[in-house]
Amino acid sequence: MLGKLLDKFCFNTLFLVGFVLVLGMMQLSSVLKKGEGEKMTETKPVLPLAIGEWTRSDSPKTVTAENIFDYMNGAGELYLGYRFDRCDVYEYRAESQKEILVELYQMKTSDDAFGLLSLDWGGTAVDLDPGSLKADRTDAIWPRALYGEGLLRLRSGRIYARVMATQETPESREAVLSLGRAVLQGRESFSHPKLLETLPEVLSTGWELRRDRASYFRTHLVLNSLYYLSHQNILDLDLACEAVATLYEKEDSAQKRTRIQFLLVKYPDGKRAREGLARFSAAYLPEHPFVSGPGDSWEAMDTVSLEDGWMAYKLQGKRIFFVFECPDRKTARTLMEEFN
């Protein structure tokens, strides 16, 4: 009898220890897989089969890098311009209303999901916490969900979602926002790319950050949609790079708003940064060629007068800072000195 009890005790203990070990290994595995921009465990969104008048089919259509152009033609380049994994597409249909499309873009990092939303900060920021639709919390630095005329765009961890009513009605608006809440249910993973923290809100010279124009990206195709430099990839950008483009504005003596274009690129290493700058200057500044030197800590700064004002760049390790369309050389140089 005692022997049986001991056996059972040993079995239960071993089972418990084994279970804990497996859990621990799973957790460790999860942590090990997480890279930059992936800081929290993510729950897969579960969308309701019915919302208001609308119902959906049981399973989504899955779009991958292999078939993305069949699904959305050239728009696919946008998602491949970030670290894209797949997209699950749900269509909700109703008898008396037009359809609602839900696209859940699963990105490889939360930074990439952030980047997609950051391409357009327009629309109304909405708080999708269950039970409230008030304006976004004032403590949120970067909006998480934006709504406009039937389209809700949101980010949650590694997911970027588009929920769009083909026709906006009071009912479809409520359904779209409810679907947004369903996407966020149980997911509290919000973060923004660390690179954005490089951007000062206000510079000592009075230039103010236009947060609503700050976009995070990785490739030259996306850069060109924000600020055109060349159809060619003259900065040698790719998915291993990170970049931010935004505006800084200031009111001049005539109370007119003046703006400058800011661009920051972070390469995987200093060598790539130096090569990127050399490539840029060869294409964009042939009269001011930058010659790459040896060593990982190579730094450089220059100001150049161009057709649309003064530009400046500063190479600093892995990063290159650029300002374009500055009113004068002093401004360009001062700005460069402020960015670190």
């Binding site: 152009f69 033609n73 728009a75 389209l151 026709q167 430099l229 159809h231 090569e275 161009l306």
Partner: protein, 294 residues
């Protein structure tokens, strides 16, 4: 560093040197390039009706039919739609209709209206085919009617007329990126060249940013049909409308980015028509609110 990295940049646009630069930046066999001088002046008509769509953006087919009839007669100078069609195509033609297939697609009502109008003009129904798709589609046609939807495009600036035939290339992705400037060469493929008899742009509910994926904030009821036989002139008018709408939305200049190189190249390199506003004659009929022609 490879020497061919020197290339077309923003500065070329600022210097006003784009025409030459685009010409130099696109390469290809001579047969794809211009073989004739574009016409001195190209007519583009814009017909609008405020009632073309209702408040829910549903198209009124009877109003649309009237707009199409007016477009045909005003563009050709003929008395009736039938005469107009028969000045553009023949009864023997196999006519391919080429709509924008999806993502802000051409309204099906527009395609249906054109088909009905062609049949009414005496074209046998079985000689009117859907010609959107791979290269076999235009090969099966002797005449093409382009029916693009008006939209901005995040890769090419504008994604309306010149982009309409991208599937005819058989490799659409090879025209993304810097190669979008080459879109015009598709119009000079032997099985495409000279077949386009009319470009009729569905400008009922255009998209002025973020295309081709739809963002309803950038769509608006223009309620128009834009027509011409010079695809470059038609695209130029479309571009003007898109640019003016963007300016109106933001209250300041909001340049298309990237700039639509394909338009300049279609004119300067491929000789498909004129992109010079001075050489485009725009005639407008009907509703004139927010015409957006600058």
């Amino acid at each position: 560093m490879p020497k061919n990295w020197t290339t077309l940049t923003r500065r070329d646009f600022l210097k006003g040197a784009v025409g030459t630069a685009v010409g130099a930046s696109v390469a290809g066999p001579d047969f794809l390039k211009a073989t004739k001088t574009p016409p001195a002046a190209s007519l583009v008509t814009i017909v609008r009706n405020a009632d073309a769509m209702d408040a829910s953006n549903a198209v009124d087919s009877s109003v649309l039919k009237g707009m199409l009839d007016q477009t045909l007669t005003k563009f050709t100078g003929k008395a009736t739609p039938k005469e107009a069609w028969l000045s553009l195509v023949t009864l023997d033609d196999t006519i391919g209709l080429v709509p924008t297939p999806h993502l802000n697609p051409t309204h099906s009502e527009v395609v249906d209206a054109v088909k009905t109008s062609l049949v009414a003009a005496g074209i046998p129904e079985n000689k009117i085919v859907d010609a959107q798709g791979g290269p076999d589609k235009p090969k099966a046609c002797t005449a093409l009617i382009g029916l693009p939807g008006l939209k901005a495009h995040w890769l090419t600036g504008i994604g309306t007329v010149m982009k309409l035939y991208i599937m005819y290339s058989g490799s659409p992705r090879s025209y993304h990126d810097q190669n979008s400037a080459k879109l015009g060469e598709i119009w000079n493929y032997p099985f495409v060249k000279g077949k386009t008899k009319l470009v009729l742009v569905d400008a009922l509910h255009p998209l002025c940013d973020k295309g081709p994926q739809v963002d309803p904030r950038y769509k608006w009821p223009y309620n128009g049909l834009i027509a011409g036989s010079d695809p470059v002139a038609v695209e130029s008018v479309c571009l003007r409308i898109i640019m003016e709408k963007r300016k109106a939305l933001r209250g300041e200049d909001w340049p298309l980015s990237p700039p639509p190189l394909c338009l300049e190249a279609a004119d300067k390199t491929y000789g498909l028509g004129t992109s010079s506003w001075d050489n485009i004659r725009v005639e407008h009929f009907g509703w004139s609110d927010d015409l957006l022609l600058g």
